[in-house]
Amino acid sequence: MKEFNGPVLFLDRSDINTDEIIPARYLTEITREALKPHLFEDLDLPGFRPEKDIPGKKVIISRENFGCGSSREHAPWALEVNGLYTVLAPGFARIFRQNMFNCGLLAVDLSEEDCREIFQRFAGTEANCTIHFDSSTLEITSLENRLSLTFSLSKFERDLIQAGGWVDFADSRYEH
């Protein structure tokens, strides 16, 4: 299983689309590693500087409808090669969410109130996020603050996380 915990990258905007996650001009790359420097290159978010803000972060917390746009799997790959394995948001585009689990990455649905509260209390600070799969709880902490929330995943989503994604899941589960 991947390491889903760590420092948080706050992206305070709704509808961040797959083109903003990884611009279409990089789709001709045949290795995932090549996507690494281009994550969020075209993201329209005041004050955001990818080369400074991304390194070291493990968890993204964002607003509604994260990952909308095309069905390209390059979007979760671009997150993965940057070590960003977890995204928390109040709602994802359906295919993006499915692609995350297929890649063995974690997408957690937040309630809108929880999301608002998180941004209020933690945005702009150095925050950390810890996921406890056993108890389906997660914790966000900063120097002055601590917030604990519950989340839910289907059994299939847990299995995919556990296996490391659909490729490894299928390889262990089906004959051939």
């Binding site: 045949i30 390209r72 799997e73 297929n102 299939f156 299928a170 390889d171 589960r173 089906y174």
Partner: protein, 426 residues
């Protein structure tokens, strides 16, 4: 309760239901090309899983950019070629024997009624013309397909499109599917399977059915399907003659993949084609459909005849018929790419290539070429192309280029006049 064709195919291929509404199917054949397969291959290598589930049930082709145009596309071809050799994939088609995947694979007899087929390509739905469930998939699904011969899908809902009436002269399968898109829109069948039925489909040749199924994805469909009938059996006969003692026997077996009379559809759409006229698109979505004559003032810079939609022999015959004894307009660049070496050879034999050549067409080798704007006819900014392909998305044939989708007949007539023209107006 009766079942749709997709439900019957799902029932025969289901190996697992890992979550509610998620079904894992055994896949009969995995098709591969050089754009989407290399990332899957490289990821399998990185995971230490460089294996294939069955080298006989994987078919691969280099078709999108062939011959390679630069180092990047050369590498894409090389990754696929090396992998095919490493795993002894016998049905691998490289330059000289290659052609557009969705035209080549049916021509080789790789598709059977009731099959499940996946490929990392959205127009995989073309193969549904044979009564197969054929779907385009993403890289991870393709990887799992290559490795294990399975793929997961959401339980299929089917929408039935019933085509009735008499097609007028000059109205082709392409006009029929454009009319459908105009009616149901690019979201009209999202996540669903389309079953094409009715007298119009019954009368269609296999090539015409492929043209229609090819564009099912433009309505968002996972797959388009036509029930197998004697037309299907006759097309497949050279490949199945050993399996069955007669065509009737083959038909009886394939009838298993016909919908039950009481099958349940999410929706039924009726379309009478009697009043159809030649159509084309405007704008950047394939459902923005208008009668071609309404755009007759539109000047064009390029004509492209080819692709998995309309690059087959019947299409080239229509083009030849229209342009015979005429010439390509001096301000038009006309390109024809027969979709496969088989089509190319047949066109040569029938004298069609000579007609194209003397009319002023550039005859290209079989490849996707300009269809995806990577080679062989990329448009300059502001240029317009009359095209027999399936997508008019913004920038598809080159940044700033404009594409009007249409039948081979309308494209050929437009090549002659230099503006959008229906063949009967020549």
């Amino acid at each position: 309760m009766g079942k749709t064709i997709a439900e019957k195919i799902f029932d025969l291929h289901r190996v697992d239901t890992p979550a509610e509404g998620v079904e894992v199917l055994r896949i009969d054949t995995v098709f591969c090309h050089e754009i989407t397969t290399p990332p899957a291959i490289l990821d399998l290598i990185a995971r230490g899983k460089d294996r294939v589930f069955d080298s006989h049930r994987i078919k691969a082709v280099i078709d999108h950019v062939s011959p390679a145009k630069d180092s990047k596309t050369a590498l894409q071809g090389k990754v696929l070629r090396d992998w095919a050799r490493r795993h002894q994939i016998k049905d691998f088609f490289d330059i000289g024997r290659n052609g557009v995947c969705h035209a080549l694979f049916p021509e080789k007899g790789f598709v059977r009624p009731g099959n499940t087929i996946i490929m990392g390509d959205s127009h995989t739905c073309t193969h549904g013309a044979f009564g197969a469930f054929a779907a385009g998939v993403g890289t991870t699904d393709l990887e799992v397909g290559i490795l294990k011969g399975v793929c997961s899908f959401h339980s299929p809902e089917t929408i039935k499109i019933n085509l009735t009436g008499d097609r007028g002269k000059g109205v082709y399968a392409k006009d029929v599917i454009l009319a459908i898109l105009g009616k149901i829109g690019t979201n009209g069948a999202t996540g669903r399977v389309i079953e094409f039925t009715g007298a119009v489909i019954d009368a269609f040749t296999m090539e015409e059915r492929m043209t229609v199924c090819n564009m099912a994805v433009e309505a968002g469909a996972t797959s388009g399907i036509c029930a197998p009938d004697m037309t299907t059996v006759t097309y497949l006969w050279p490949f199945i003659a050993e399996e069955f003692s007669s065509k009737e026997e083959a038909l009886a077996a394939y009838r298993a993949f016909t919908a039950d009379p009481d099958a349940e559809y999410a929706e039924t759409v009726d379309l009478d084609v009697s009043s159809l006229e030649p159509l084309t698109t405007t704008g950047f979505k394939p459902d923005m459909v208008v009668p071609a004559r309404e755009l007759s003032g539109t000047k064009i810079d390029q004509v492209y005849i080819g692709s998995c939609t309309n690059g087959r022999i019947e299409d080239l015959r229509v083009v030849a018929q229209v342009i015979q004894g005429r010439e390509v307009h001096p301000e038009v660049r006309a390109i024809v790419s027969p979709a496969t070496p088989g089509v190319y050879g047949q066109a040569l034999k029938e004298g069609l290539l000579e007609i194209f050549q003397s009319a002023g067409f550039c005859i290209m080798n079989p490849t996707c070429g300009a269809c995806l704007g990577m080679s062989g006819g990329v448009l300059a900014e502001g240029e317009t192309c009359a095209s027999t392909t399936n997508r008019n998305f913004n920038g598809r044939m080159g940044k700033g280029g404009i594409i009007h989708l249409m039948s081979p007949a309308t494209a050929a007539a437009s090549a002659v006049t230099g503006h959008i023209t229906t063949a009967d107006a020549l």
